[in-house]
Amino acid sequence: MHFSKTFAQLLRDLPPELSENAIEYRRLKKLLNQVTRELAALGLSPTVLHDLLQSNAEPSGKEKEKGRDSETGARLLYEFNDDVGHIEPRLRLWVDSTDPPDDVEGKPQVALVAWALQRHAEAQNAVLNSNKVELVIPLVSDSAFFQLLAATLQALADHLIATHAQFVETLKDLTKVVSDSARPVSSTSTSFKPLSALRSDAGGARVSASSRKSDLYSWREIFQLYVETEIFESVNERDRGSRTIEDAETRLTQFAERVKTRGLDRELKLQQSHKALDSFLELNSFILNVKKFELANAEAMRKILKKHTKRTALPAPDSSNTAPLALLPATNTLLPRTLVQELGTTLLPVIPSLDDYACLICLSIAFKPIRLACGHLFCVRCLVKMQKRGSDDCPMCRAPCVLIADRSNVDWALLNFMRDWFPEEASIKLRQNEREAADEQMAELGMDPNQRCRVM
């Protein structure tokens, strides 16, 4: 299938506000035909151009040292003039000649080129003096080609900036809604049992009792699922980095399905949460579309420039010839990544993640949280175990501060924060701690610790 068809098809699947700003591949291709015709009319068919450009390429390396004077025939340069504020490609042709044509200015281009080519052909056989004649041949169609390309790229870049701004706005609104609907129920409560909070905040700063339902746990699970699905980027050690579009698309679908199969969408209690979830999914599809769009454009750009080279034999703008690329407006190729990152730094942190508040020893919530003199944080149970074993070194930095830790090391601010944001985990952990401590006491009363019977 022709790329123009593939490209059109790719764009059809994208929302119009994106596809309307895509690279105009077909128009560029038509212009390219005009470029070929113009060059042919000048007598500069691809073969001729190839031949002329080849003779430039030769005096590189060692030969260069001898100086250009030793060359014979014509030399050709494909250059981009940007003095005029837009890109104007032109050919610069040098010809050795003993008798330059009388009226270089007045003669038509075709005649001049024909004359130059004639001289070039003759020069293959004869040694001539180095009386160079320089011809500048503006390329009208080629200018139109690059101007259209530059214009579309500029429009594309502008559109992506606008898109980005819009995304940021939507994300901000969504973040507000989510943080509102996931506010801890028990934030003013002294008890961390989630249900008792319904009464205790009657006189608090909360708006009204009816709005005190919270979707904190549903949102946390949704976001955790989202992070685990690693839709756009892998954080695995073996395949770290951006995922392909197909992979990202599959994963996004998977995520949406998992949210449904786990009933997370139905568990959302607040009306605004449902809308927010839809909006969240839409934002992700949007990122995916931007990714598709960007890839399609990059491919179109690559293809059209390749075609340009192939059809005209004019050197392609590549790493050794970056002039035209530098003149073209740059598009933000990292936009999808930026969007993913913004989502990760704006929306997701609204819900504190358990992983950030885990004890590094038992890997469950660090409750009650003890801050050692060195600043590292662990749960009280793990530190008690360390103290019983007589281990004094902080597990993180080996500073000797475990044995001196006592009640004064409880991080009360963090303790309250955990009760607010992780009421269930905190209460479970507290019960576990108590049970474990009791078990240990039993063991110390005479049972062999390795053989102890654990009633679960």
Partner: protein, 148 residues
């Protein structure tokens, strides 16, 4: 008897996101016992070798270090005939914040950086100190013979 949450979490991650060159899988009938393989690090005499190890998490883990032993024969100054490893974090420098993953990465690093000044296999260490190239050649031969 239930497995501590920490061991479950560690195992899940070891399987889902293994460290490059390292595998660790628990036995079905004993979830505290792991079959481990470590690839010899590139640039070391153990390059291209696949070394089998066993790893056991004692009841006190993570307060006490895991027990790790090479099952594949290896010519290394800090690993003896029985496969026992001389590595500080497996003994007095153990910290409960270390994990199976970090321990195995340390063992892999030990293959790249033998330390003949703190030997467990005195004859190998002597060989490494007196004729490093010759010792490395033996290490390579053993790797080819036993670890591939």
């Amino acid at each position: 008897m239930s497995l501590p949450k920490r061991i479950i979490k560690e195992t899940e991650r070891l399987v889902a996101d293994p460290a490059p060159g390292i595998t660790a899988a628990p036995h079905d009938d004993n979830l505290r016992y792991f079959d481990v393989t470590i690839q010899g690090p590139d640039g070391s005499p153990f390059q291209q070798g696949i070394f089998k190890l066993e790893l056991f998490l004692p009841e006190e883990y993570p307060m006490a270090p895991p027990k790790v032993r090479f099952l594949t024969k290896i010519y290394h100054p800090n690993i003896d005939k029985l496969g026992r490893i001389c590595l500080d974090i497996l003994k007095d420098k153990w910290s409960p914040a270390l994990q199976i993953r970090t321990v195995l990465l340390s063992v892999q690093a030990l293959l790249s950086a033998p330390n003949p000044d703190d030997p467990l296999a005195p004859d190998v260490a002597k060989h490494y100190k007196e004729d490093e190239q010759g010792a490395q050649r033996v290490s390579r031969e053993w790797t080819q013979q036993y670890a591939s």
